[in-house]
């Protein structure tokens, strides 16, 4: 199991003032897995993502990614190591074109220096060309190439969600974190999105951690599921195990019951 391990969080927790938002989280993802992270609103799912990506520094515990300890790293450093993410409330670069949104994430793909860009040396042109081609290829996969010159803010909502995933993918991750990617989508859009996620996972050999509110959906596509409630992991296991777990049923009491 160890040489297949991609990321591992040990006793990770964070405190905001006196409030322990998340505590004692132990989780791991093996290479190539598609894992779900579920839990009621305010359970600490997004906070967990923020800790895994360096946006928040955990106040306790350790996170190891690809054999390296990553707590204390800044988000851009974590991204360079190979973790990329989307945001629950879309955070696109609104006044940039669709293509430029993806190009920003391609930043570290090219290596040309500031000096080479200012003096328009050959390495600037070859680097920019490479970024352009790569970015267009990502847009094509997501069916966004027709919108490439639109400003991101002018895209329809569902397309904005897709663009966020395309952008995250352009950062060349080994591990992709998706924070409620289907939020606000209609059933058809959600269905298409899930097929797309399955496709990119295969195509890019990705490991994916998926936060999703819709239990049906998570049960349908994830190999294993972690359940957070009040900042603590209350269960983990296969969809069948989770479905029959009394603690999970209790946490979700009052919400739509899983069948």
């Amino acid at each position: 199991m160890t040489n297949n391990l991609l990321i591992k969080a040990e006793n990770v927790g964070i405190q905001f003032g006196g409030l322990k938002a998340v505590q004692n989280v132990n989780m791991y993802l093996n290479k190539g897995e598609l894992i779900g992270l579920i839990g009621p609103n305010g359970a600490g799912k997004t906070t967990t993502f923020n800790m895994l990506t360096g946006v928040y520094q955990p106040t306790e515990g350790a996170i190891t990614f690809d054999g390296k300890k990553i707590n204390g790293l800044k988000p851009y450093q974590v991204t360079k190591l190979g973790i990329s993410r989307t945001f629950q409330n879309i955070r696109l670069f609104k006044d940039l074109s669709v293509l430029d949104n993806v190009k920003v994430a391609n930043h570290n793909l090219a290596k040309h220096s500031i000096v080479s860009s200012i003096f328009r040396l050959p390495s600037h042109f070859s680097g920019e060309k490479k970024m352009e081609e790569e970015s267009l290829a990502f847009l094509k996969i997501f069916g966004l190439d027709v919108y490439k010159d639109e400003l991101a803010k002018n895209l329809p909502y569902g397309m904005q969600r897709r663009l966020e995933i395309a952008r995250a993918l352009a950062a060349n991750p080994k591990l992709l974190l998706l924070d409620e990617p289907a939020a606000g989508m209609n059933p058809q859009e959600t269905h298409d999105l899930m097929e797309l996620i399955a496709f990119i996972r295969k195509e890019f050999g990705l490991t994916i951690l998926l936060i999703e509110h819709d239990m049906h959906l998570v049960m349908g596509i994830c190999e294993r599921i972690y359940v957070l409630d009040h900042g603590q992991l209350i269960a983990d296991g296969t969809p069948t195990e989770i479905r029959n777990n009394p603690k999970v049923i209790e946490a979700y009491l009052g919400e739509e019951v899983v069948d």
Partner: protein
């Protein structure tokens, strides 16, 4: 490659503008009053574009730009007047030291956001001014006498270099990183952009060209005094950038040209000058709240409907 085609187009345009003015000067069609206005215009364009990279591109609300103008002015003046160095070298010294001052100010202050950053940069600019005020070597409050060396040629070359460097920077992966910071700093960070690094770089480049403008400014007016570089000067520069449209390089150039002309003419009416100047600002902001150009560039206006490449 259509990019290089339009590049040569701009070169030609610049050459024509330069030649026409230079010819008018040598044929004595332009008196000193207008020559001076044109040089002032060039200085203001450099200042506007150099602040544009900090505020318009990177989204860092710095309002102490006159501090770096002062560094460039004083350091270049020391180089020519005290050390007897040639003017071109003095310009370079002014710009480089201003860039270093930019690094020194930028590294601690760019951690701050919004109002805090604005206040901190304003404070640093005042510190720079007060340092010059208290150094007797550069004349203290009385100021420093500087020979007139700036010409239309120097000023124009300064503008061309400023615009070329800053637009080349902007239209590259580095510039896109800066724009991403302006748009959403958290998302930029999450996409692998070293946000601190790029904020400091943009700030240093902006300071460099403010220093360049300072060198040309110092050698255009026979005397430099600390009072010239107060926060009112910083606000003047800020106004070019905001009035032109945040994020638009051509907008800030346009605003600098417009306001230089307006304030040069208004110099004849000292009593009403500030009132009319303010009215112009208010009217523009009422009818164009996002500035003259919004976030668009002049070049966008010529290629509506046949857009292919990327732009910022």
């Amino acid at each position: 490659m259509k990019k290089s085609k339009s590049f040569w187009g701009y070169c030609l345009l610049a050459l024509v503008i330069y030649a026409v003015v230079q010819l008018s000067i040598s044929m004595q069609l332009l008196d000193l009053y207008y020559q001076n206005m044109l040089i002032t215009m060039c200085i203001n364009i450099m200042l506007a574009v150099s602040l544009h990279i900090v505020i318009g591109i990177t989204g860092q609300f710095s309002i102490g730009h006159a501090g770096f103008l002062a560094v460039g002015a004083y350091l270049s003046a020391v180089a020519t007047m005290k050390l007897g160095l040639p003017f071109p070298i003095a310009i370079l010294i002014g710009a480089v030291v201003a860039a270093l001052a930019g690094l020194l100010v930028g590294i601690p202050t760019l951690r701050l956001k919004g109002d805090y950053l604005a206040i901190a940069t304003l404070g640093f600019a005042e510190i720079i001014r007060i340092v010059f005020l208290n150094v007797d070597y550069v004349g203290g409050a009385a100021g420093m006498v500087v020979n007139h060396m700036s010409t239309w040629t120097y000023a124009f070359i300064g503008v061309v270099i400023t615009i070329l460097v800053i637009s080349n920077f902007t239209n590259s992966r580095h510039g896109r990183g800066c724009i991403a910071i302006r748009e959403d700093e958290i998302a930029a960070d999450a996409m692998g952009i070293n946000t601190t690094y790029y904020k400091v770089i943009a700030f240093a480049i902006g300071s460099f060209f403010a220093g360049l403008a300072g060198a040309i400014y110092a050698h255009n007016f026979y005397i430099i005094q600390p009072t010239t570089f107060g926060f009112l000067k910083s606000f003047d520069i800020l106004i070019y950038v905001v009035l032109g449209g945040l994020g638009s390089l051509s907008g800030s150039v346009l605003a600098a040209i417009l306001l230089t002309v307006v304030s040069t003419y208004l110099a004849n009416f000292p009593e009403t000058r500030m009132i009319i100047y303010s009215l112009v600002l208010i009217i523009v902001m009422l009818y164009r709240p996002t500035g003259l150009m919004g976030t668009k560039e002049i070049t966008d206006l010529f290629k509506i409907g046949k857009k292919g490449g990327s732009k910022a």
